[in-house]
């Protein structure tokens, strides 16, 4: 499973990145979470809002930071 957090490096984006790493760990999974800060890549992904969580090239969350519970649920759903 490919997990990416897109964000241009603002505090909110970093928060989502940290929370996603935490959620992956708490789900007992061992995937690397990538933090993508390159604007060109963000736009090429079709994103207009940051931060965003992209799992296997599918935008799961855009423009907001969900709760850890919701993050865990999203990751679990994609891992099935």
């Amino acid at each position: 499973m490919e997990i990416q957090v897109f964000g241009s490096g603002c505090p909110t984006c970093k928060k989502l990145y940290e929370m996603t790493k935490q959620a992956v760990l708490e789900n007992g999974l061992n995937f690397e979470v990538k933090h993508i800060t390159d604007v060109a890549e963000i736009v090429e992904m079709g994103l207009l809002r940051s931060p965003a969580l992209v799992i296997d090239n599918e935008i799961a969350v855009a423009g907001r930071v969900p709760s850890t519970e919701e993050l865990k649920e999203i990751i679990a759903r994609h891992n099935m």
Partner: protein, 321 residues
């Protein structure tokens, strides 16, 4: 009648009956000011942020982009400025948003109208103005923000400044990955509630601090002490207020309650309005981020138009009020 009358009664009751503070004492006055404003603002913040964030779940930037693409100038500028009112603005979204917009055919001027209005007409500032100054001032703030956004966009559009945008912007090909937009109502409400709670938690401490300082000024600063210093007679007051406002970006929530107390002490309304607009619209971090997509010339034009617009609004309201 003031719908917040019960809150005034409540804070008077707390101060005089519950805490036994002497009526008409300076401390009592300051305490009433503090209790009334902190409750009033809390209620307004929760109600309006919830409403705006619920509304905005129907207007994601992806949809805005489609609405604004290939619009005629002017009508597009007005539309962009209006949509900007309800749009959240995290300065980190500015660059992807900018590229995504111009890439999909939204005219440069129209993009700028949106880019000005989104941060400038800020819902938190509007709430505070509504609670502390009444609906007229809140409306003036929103309307002048929209007017400045439209004017900025029209000017940038008229002069065809596309060449002053960094060249790589035009080379990026935006993807068209669909973003979640088939949310059910319950999901929208849940997200709006979450957003409201988070934002409230982040800004309310600043509001309390601002109200506390405001209460102190209200109670202890001498009457009209600002009228002589920064009154209408002082033509430098407006530009100075704008200059002070620029670095205060993140503290709009804490600054406005202080400004209310300063107005009572003789700060003219236009000067105060210019100050508040400078806080929300002219933010240093946003300028630095926009530099990534705008060549220095265009960034300067953008900052110059905004600054002139805000200062003009300040003078205008000092003059008419």
């Amino acid at each position: 009648m003031d719908i917040f009358y019960p809150i005034n009664c409540f804070s008077a009751w707390v101060s005089f009956s519950l805490l036994g503070i002497a009526k008409n004492s300076i401390f009592g006055e300051a305490l009433i000011f503090f209790i009334t404003d902190s409750i009033k603002i809390a209620i307004l913040l929760v109600a309006i942020i919830f409403f705006v964030s619920f509304l905005r779940s129907y207007l994601p930037p992806e949809k805005v982009k489609k609405v604004l693409a290939n619009r005629f100038e002017f009508v597009g500028n007005i539309l962009a400025a209006m949509i900007g009112i309800v749009t959240p603005f995290c300065s980190c979204s500015a660059v992807p948003l900018f590229i995504g917009f111009v890439e999909s055919g939204v005219p440069l001027g129209v993009t700028f109208s949106y880019l000005v209005s989104a941060p400038m007409v800020n819902e938190v500032a509007a709430v505070l103005l509504l609670g502390l100054f009444g609906w007229k001032i809140a409306l003036i703030y929103v309307v002048s923000g929209v007017v400045i956004a439209v004017v900025t966009g029209v000017i940038i559009g008229k002069f065809k400044l596309e060449g002053w945008v960094e060249d790589y912007v035009w080379k990026i090909k935006a993807g068209s990955t669909a973003v979640e937009d088939t949310k059910i109502l319950a999901q929208r409400i849940k997200e709006a509630r979450q957003y409201t709670f988070n934002l409230f938690k982040n800004i309310y401490p600043y509001v309390l601090l601002g109200v506390l300082l405001g209460a102190f000024i209200h109670g202890y600063a001498p009457e009209n002490f600002l009228a002589s210093l920064a009154g209408k007679g002082n033509i430098f007051a407006v530009p100075l207020a704008v200059l002070i406002g620029v670095p205060l970006y993140s503290n709009a929530a804490g600054t406005i309650p202080i400004v209310k107390a300063l107005i009572e002490k003789g700060l003219p309304l236009g000067t105060a309005l210019a100050f508040m607009m400078a806080i929300t619209a002219l933010s240093l971090p946003e300028m630095i981020i926009l530099r990534k997509v705008l060549k220095p010339k265009l960034l300067s034009v953008y900052i110059a138009i905004l600054t002139v617009g805000v200062i003009f609004t300040g003078y205008l309201f000092n003059w008419v009020m």
